[in-house]
Symmetry: C2
Subunit: 342 residues, 2 copies
């Protein structure tokens, strides 16, 4: 039988001690960690970068098909991804959670196992947070802190005409993973049939256990590449590219045949009679990096197999376009995930 320890039996401070007992500091920049009114850090002359996300059960995740360990991992990843999108290095996080009494201590342990696994992977220190009960639903709020050499951060607003538009990894998988899991959940609720995820490890993995592109930012540093603008793909490629264009006051052309898509993603899209290109353009939660670089960086970018050059920046007056495989030109539309319209 599974063990179930009531969280109230520990009290708030007992719980915090329990959840942080193996929390070791990895970074010299972490001066004072969990256990006081605030944490203290020193980035020793580098600038501090900060980003925060609020994740709510039923809006951002569904616990009926999301293992808590994966959820803890992902909550960290989506935040450090924002730090990488500034061309910075994540160094610390704070993690706050609200949970109802249906959660046992074992459940929170599973969640924190994922949190610590991500902290290990991205070499960030968990330095603070807040734990509280909620009336219902699981609430997660993460703040990620990073560092960057003075004025070396990369904004969304500085793309220049003729720059190359590049994206890391592959697109659209996470969206199809969500589509699959939502379908299987519906079938289970209606018929009691067990989920059939056979052969779909790729798309399910893209949704449940995404990674942030540490490797890309490290490659930039090694090769002395400074992107002219950058953003992470959380709401879908089109939507993010349109942000860059609007903030930078430029236009763009991207090519359908250059969009990086995994075979597993395309196959499942065909199964659903959906266009894989639409998934790549509008599917959210890929957590890839979308960036622009000067054409002078072409040789260096070309050598990294994890980066695809998908188009180029134009003057704002030329608009924002997609050139299809057949050579047709379409206006780009943002159909990102908009939680406000759900």
């Amino acid at each position: 039988m599974e063990e179930r320890t009531e969280i109230a039996s520990l009290g708030e401070f007992g719980l915090i001690d329990h959840l942080t007992k193996n929390n070791e500091t990895k970074n010299a920049s972490t001066i004072l960690s969990v256990g006081d009114d605030a944490a203290v850090m020193d980035h020793f002359g580098r600038q501090t970068v900060i980003s925060t996300d609020l994740l709510l059960e039923g809006v951002h995740f569904d616990l009926s098909y999301t293992p808590l360990k994966h959820l803890g991992y992902k909550a960290v990843v989506v935040n450090v991804s924002d730090i990488y999108a500034m061309n910075a290095t994540p160094t610390q996080i704070t993690m706050s959670i609200g949970f109802s009494n249906r959660f046992s201590l074992e459940a929170l342990d599973e969640f924190y196992e994922g949190v610590y696994a991500a902290c290990e992977k991205y070499q960030v220190d968990l330095v603070g947070g807040d734990t509280t009960t909620s009336l219902r639903g699981f609430v997660i709020s993460v703040t990620a802190i990073g560092e960057v050499a003075p004025d070396s951060y990369v904004k969304r607003s500085t793309a220049q005409p003729n720059d190359l538009i590049c994206v890391s990894g592959e697109l659209g998988g996470s969206f199809l993973g969500l589509t699959l899991l939502e379908r299987e959940k519906r079938i289970f609720e209606e018929t009691g049939a067990q989920p059939d995820l056979e052969g779909q490890a790729y798309i399910v993995g893209r949704l449940l256990k995404p990674e942030a592109r540490k490797d890309i930012v490290e490659y930039f540093a090694e090769e002395n590449i400074v992107p002219t603008s950058m953003i992470d793909v959380s709401d879908g490629l089109s939507s993010e590219l349109m942000h860059i264009c609007e903030k930078s006051e430029v236009g763009c052309v991207i090519y359908e045949d250059k969009l990086p898509m995994a075979d597993e993603m395309k196959e499942f899209a065909y199964k659903l009679q959906t266009d894989p290109t639409a998934c790549a353009l509008s599917g959210g939660e890929d957590y890839e990096l979308l960036f622009t670089v000067s054409q002078t960086e072409y040789e260096k970018i070309r050598l990294n197999p994890a980066i695809s050059i998908i188009g180029y920046v134009t003057a704002a007056s030329e608009g924002k376009h997609l050139i299809t495989r057949g050579g047709n030109k379409h206006g780009l539309v943002a159909q990102g995930w908009n939680h406000l319209n759900k």
Copy 2:
């Protein structure tokens, strides 16, 4: 008739633009504010202090008697209070909110009016956050960032025997304000009678519009006082003092007749046939600063009318005690607000 604008009519980015359109930067340390993947700050050789809180409707606040403007103000105050409790200066905050579709744009505007009022008062910049819908309930997550000269922050764990124990302001008012509002809410629900808050502006104000003790930390700087330990009073004086004692491995003696209590607080406590001392010791959310200083600072501390000396630090072996007005010695017990046991 009151206007009601649906938030969905703006979309997420329209909403963020609307809520941040008058958001002007006050601090040189704020390098890049709202509008990118992350905010950037530079504390120019000073260390960065960070604290975060998660506030949930029904657990931490009740919208039936909490005006949204006050809630926005308080959400900022409780976080900057943690920064002051490190003897640091708050410089930035991030503010994330989750709200259901029962909230109109006008309601969010009211909330942000309070947020900006607090930012103005404490001279902090709102540099980021997240906005999302929730299935139900209002969710607030705030992270406060501050700065301090290298290694000048004050911890909870460094109180020394013979130090003076001091507290700012007055205690217990917020708890009685909550008791009053909860009582009036119950009466309204049962009988429809309008709340009677006549003459209770002090205790209601202590609950709904607390202030953080900026003035005390500024006084320390002016007078070159460095407390040996410090914490802010959010869970009740006893509970916080016991934290200092446990973390510092010391004991304490405090005197009932030295506990600072407002007349308005005492009068309402007598009305309820409650002991004002119990309210001062165990009532939460006072957001005063509890600190210890070396006896050599006595003359400086004595001169500040906003500071009360309530006792002294002892060796751990002597325990933690309260000396009553009648001269009796009682063991101190922590009965702070524990959301986990609610």
